[in-house]
Amino acid sequence: MTLTFLNLVVVRGVLVGLLQGSTDVYKSRFAGDIIITNLPKKNYIENSPSIIEIAGNLPWVDKLTYRYVEGASAEANYKTRIDFTEEPDTTAGSVVGINPALEDAATHISNTVVEGRYLTDNDAEGILIGANMLKKYLDIEAPGLTLLENVAIGDKVRLTIGENRKEFVVLGFLQSKVDQIDFRMFILDTTFRNLAGRGDYNVDEIALVLKEGADEQVVKEALMASGVGEYARVQTWFESLPKFLLDIQNTFGLLGNVVGSIGLVVASITIFIVIFVNAITRKKYIGILKGIGIDKTAIEFAYVLQAFFYASVGVLAGMVIVWGFLVPFVAAHPIKFPFSDGILVAEVPNTIVRAVLLIIATLIAGYIPARIVVKQNTLDAILGRK
């Protein structure tokens, strides 16, 4: 019964947790609790300085970071390139201008540095490159996908934004399993403004991290009430999740439920067999009990109680294993999937529903065989007649 409960909870928990790991990192490393972005068809958030001020002054906001984002291409090994008939060592993606201190305070992005070091305010010519822009971290061949090869910490790369080009020193590589980091390059905001011609201080993303207990919806509504919605799109982190991620999460949840349902059927059959064998081997005693006047409902109830005992002990043991061991263990040692660090999701309401389902299925599975055996003729049961 414990194993069935684990099957019911853990299979779905791992499947959902696989995506949950992804969405958790998306929130903590990129979106914060609220993410403010460009309106559709706008290149940046107009009136950004005033929006940043409004957002920063909201009482619920704990941390704020803003980002400039532009499409860019990066080229490496251009100084050692001899054969100009060969393709240059380039990649294309987004370059992001950040205030390193603000960004790290809000998203702890420095923790995603896998090689080299994080940016400081003095690194006007430094660049951080997302792991998925490098061949050594994303060793796949896909049509149209070009990645930087043979780039090491301290090497120089040439960044081109529109018509402007500048040489940077590679300070570090970032790997977070979030595309918004792994497929981007990061430079100082001051450098970015000069390179991209953003003298107006208009940014592309503002991420807000709220204080403990603050309601995202309340903050979103406050921002909208302040007129931020006229210049930018305000979303909670969940609303900003890519739709495919939610679709996959729902699909995995459904798959988990299907696998769990099979487990539920198996558990029901197991209990049916256990109770049936138990009741059939005790047919004579059941007959005796009926013979001396024990009501058949009381006998059936005794078997249902037995099934309930099996189920509740199994469920309780399962809950202790899930919440006492598996969830904290997997949280401390996430399952390393290529696209996320999977955790085990076992929300209390969801797990309770599964526990109740298992108990109900067990009670039904216990009642049916008890009823079959109890219904047999009393005298036949006492005398052992078939």
Partner: protein, 228 residues
């Protein structure tokens, strides 16, 4: 106390019909210790099952304390068995996992007694039968005679109108059988009505009245003036 009126019991086996009881009528008076005896296959156990409401006669009536119980529903028959009748089976019919006390407790609790009252009655019944020291023993820790006496305690604990005993000494040696039968005699002296099925003339001789069956019919119904 209990009246059997023209009891017929027929079993069907394929197309054949086998008449085990062929119109049996008699009356058991309150406080009587009656034995039904006869050869194997004479229908004595089948008769006891009809009178004890464990089976339904093909025709005829069973009247207990003036009430016709022949047409009662299954649940009503169960209730009569629980509240008015007591049973002792050949193989003791105790629940192996339960102690002597718990075995006796079951029907009392089913009657709706509180655990405290049921326990008091069960202990009293077991002490009455001389098993006050074996309350906590499970059947496997008791001898055959002791198990049968637990079964007697279970049958009498709720003070039934009549106790049915089906070959109660069949699995016991003669010494133990005598102890069990002595229990019956003492209970009967205290006013308990007992109907016992036995094929042992020696044990039948201990009862007030002996009904002898042969081929599904009463061949003799005698008052035992020489009761030992």
């Amino acid at each position: 106390m209990i009246i059997a009126k023209d009891i017929v019991k027929t079993f069907k086996s394929g197309e054949k019909e086998l008449s085990v009881l062929k119109g049996i009528s008699f009356e058991v008076k309150s406080g009587e210790f009656l034995s039904i005896t006869g050869r194997s296959g004479s229908g004595k156990s089948t008769l006891m099952y009809q009178l004890g409401l464990l089976d339904v006669p093909t025709s005829g009536k069973v009247i207990i304390d003036g009430k016709d119980v022949s047409d009662l529903s299954t649940d009503e028959r169960t209730w009569v068995r629980l509240s008015d009748l007591g049973y002792i089976f050949q193989d003791y019919a105790l629940i192996p996992e339960l102690t002597a006390l718990e075995n006796v407790l079951i029907p009392l609790m089913m009657l709706g007694l509180t655990l405290k009252d049921a326990e008091a009655k069960a202990v009293k019944a077991l002490e009455r039968i001389g098993l006050g020291e074996r309350l906590g023993n499970v059947p496997s820790q008791l001898s055959g005679g002791e198990q049968q006496r637990v079964s007697i305690a279970r049958a009498i604990a709720h003070e039934p109108k009549i106790v049915f005993a089906d070959e109660p000494t069949a699995n016991l040696d003669s010494e133990t059988s005598k102890v069990v039968l002595q229990n019956f005699i003492e209970l009967n002296r205290e006013g308990q009505t007992i109907l016992m099925v036995t094929h042992e003339p020696e044990y039948a001789a201990l009862t007030d009245r002996i009904i002898t069956l042969s081929d599904g019919m009463i061949v003799s119904d005698t008052i035992n003036k020489n009761k030992r």
